[in-house]
């Protein structure tokens, strides 16, 4: 395959621009259009088409910050899948459990950060327990692992319903995270010439920042550290890694702990931004599934791209065509599968 590709690539290189460069140009052009849409003052006809500039920019910002949350959930999912070839369909339950634990701890102690830490730590432990007692026994048996994780999610959802009932909870964020940021984006110009600037909740920006920090951290861990090297080696050839003296079980347990912990962390963070209620587990499981299918299994960069696409599609859909918003997400998934069945950043199998 690569041998056949070689000549055509050199040909096109000598001819002018490569496909990659062409896509880069398209991307730059799109970025320029979006930048103009965000920063320029809109003429009336554009306001008429896209409802209002405020609605448009808010949809974009909401999409990006929601993508941060989706990335947190999906990165844990893709991490666990990438190494252990194990679709943990109980991942949504981990998110919801993390959110409930974060709620309880924050409510009892009054410290939000303690709730966040508890959400991560408890779910990391739960993840290790699941790996050691359940998934390790079913190594290499994909279908049974999937079925067992579905069974676990059913039981977990029912038990959580028993403990926390069907109500909706909101995790209270500390004061220093409340309030709004005034962004350097003009939404409208008053008749007296004064500009109206867009304000945006600080908390959502912080969520996005946390997602970026964690994403970069995960990428560095996977690509620059010794543990990351082991993990990537384990993805490609588990038996060889074991033969070279690495305790594969320990590596797997660490990855499962990080992945499940991230789901719990996302639960607390998401539960503070939105709300905690039964049924959220399915919602975030769906989000992780679609993000990972679109982005490519086992790729952190892919999860980021997928999360951005899905988050933006969901929020823009919510503003401009509320009924068919979910269909937009679905169309993105189908188109991706049609063009690249392995996902945008996935490796060809």
């Amino acid at each position: 395959m690569s041998l056949l590709d070689q000549p055509s690539q050199t040909l096109s290189e000598s001819g002018g621009i490569t496909g990659r460069q062409a896509w880069g140009l398209v991307g730059l052009l799109a970025a320029a259009v979006v930048a103009w849409l965000v920063f320029a003052v809109w003429p009336d006809w554009l306001n008429a088409i896209l409802i209002s500039k405020k609605a448009f920019v808010s949809a974009i910002l909401n999409g990006i910050t929601l993508a941060g949350l989706y990335f947190l959930v999906a990165s844990g999912f893709t991490l666990i899948f990438g190494l252990m070839r194990n679709v943990n369909l109980a991942h949504g339950s981990l998110y919801l459990l993390g959110a409930y634990i974060g709620y309880e701890v924050t409510n009892r102690t009054g410290y939000w950060l303690l709730g966040v830490a508890a959400g991560f730590a408890v779910l990391a432990i739960v993840g290790v327990v699941m790996q050691v007692f359940v998934f390790r026994r079913l190594e290499g048996d994909d279908l049974r692992q999937t079925l067992v994780s579905i069974g676990i999610s059913i039981v977990a959802a029912d038990l959580m319903l028993a403990v926390w009932a069907g109500g909706t909870y909101q995790i209270t964020t500390p004061e220093w995270l409340d309030g709004a940021l005034t962004l350097p984006v003009i939404t409208a110009v008053r008749s007296n010439g004064a500009s109206v600037f867009l304000t945006y909740p600080l908390y959502r920006v912080v969520v996005l920042a946390a997602a970026i920090v964690i994403g970069v951290g995960l990428w560095l861990m996977l690509h620059k550290t010794r543990v990351g090297m082991m993990i990537r080696a384990g993805v490609d050839d588990r038996a060889m890694l074991q033969a070279s003296g690495v305790n594969v079980h320990a590596v797997f347990a660490i990855v499962f702990a990080v992945g499940a912990g991230l789901a719990g962390f996302a639960g607390v963070v998401g539960g503070s931004a939105l709300s905690v209620a039964p049924g959220e587990d399915v919602r975030y499981l769906l989000a992780s599934l679609v993000v990972v299918i679109v982005g490519g299994m086992g790729s952190i960069t892919g999860a980021a791209i997928g999360a951005l696409l899905i988050g933006l599609a969901e929020q823009i859909g919510l503003v401009y065509f509320p009924t068919y918003g979910i269909v937009l997400t679905f169309v993105i998934m189908v188109v991706t599968l049609a063009v690249r069945p392995q996902g945008i950043m996935g490796k060809a199998r």
Binding site: R85, V87, L89, R137, D141, D142, L143, R144, T146, L147, V148, I150, G151, I152, I154, V155, A157, D158, L159, A162, V282, L286, L289, V290, V292, I293, M297, P322, T323, Y324, G325, I326, V327, T329, F330, M333, V334, L337, A338, P341
Partner: protein, 342 residues
Amino acid sequence: MSLAIATTSATPQRNWLEKLGAGHIILAVALVLYPLVASDFFLTQIGGYSLIFGMLGLSLMLLAGYGGMVSLAQITVAGIAAYAIAILGNNNSSILGLGWPWWLAVPFAVLAAALASALIGWISVRTEGIYTIMITLAIATATFYFAQQNYAIFNGHSGYTGIRAPVFWSVNWRDARPFYYLCLGLAALSYAAVLYGSRSTFGMTLQAIRDNPRRMRALGYHVTAHKVFAWLLAGVIAGLAGVLLVWFNGRVSPGTIGVDAAIDVLIIAVIGGLRHPIGPFLGAVVVVLMQTFAIDIVGAERFNTLIGMVFLVIVFVSPDGILGLWGRIKPHLAQESLRPGP
């Protein structure tokens, strides 16, 4: 090849009774006579409901057992047929309800379901194994949310009510006994069709594709087309089940095609066993009995914990479900009689 010839010459033309097998005859007689002993509640809530969910499980078994494609979207396919019946026929929700007679609405509903199933199959056959599960789950969930948000076609959150099984041949098919026989007839038809189909050329090809797609592709078979056709057939069975389901409930709403229901179908098929078409029906009886009577034991609240636990135990103990358990116990029972007493 010579082996096949030898066996056919050794057993010359069996008659239809032998072909059918004693087990099937006993089962058929028992099921036909069941209404003589059962109350109306046992006829519809246990009998009819098990048969409907058995058919849904059967459509999954066809895909998973013979084609190696585990789908979580079978309830979605059934839901499309159910919604089609509500939209094309009559309903109480004063929206759509085109008022078609049943003999026109039912074929259209089943056709719509089969085409939808083929479409889902066409999307998901590009992938294998776990990926198929993930994509069909994503499709099922997306359809659920779409049905919930869309008021023009799906009537949003409340769905459609007041859908009734028709009256024809001077039989009121919504009565307990006729409805049970209707379910039994369609279930038996689907069961026989799957059993027959699995031994046909197409069935054999499909099983060969499941076992080694690369070799079949190299031999010149159109692998994707065979898989998509299997989805179409599974869609016909799921569509029939969907028609029965909407007549059974009298209503259809997004809850009917929710993720819980999608997983229920998988649970039924896996608990029963995916190796033989009878498995899903066994699983359906077990799950429906549990759903009905576990409430007396653990209370309505914690019922899902119980069913999840049973599911977990069965997946852990026997990957082939009840059929697998039976297959493991059977040789022991046979040997027991041969052994001398203690």
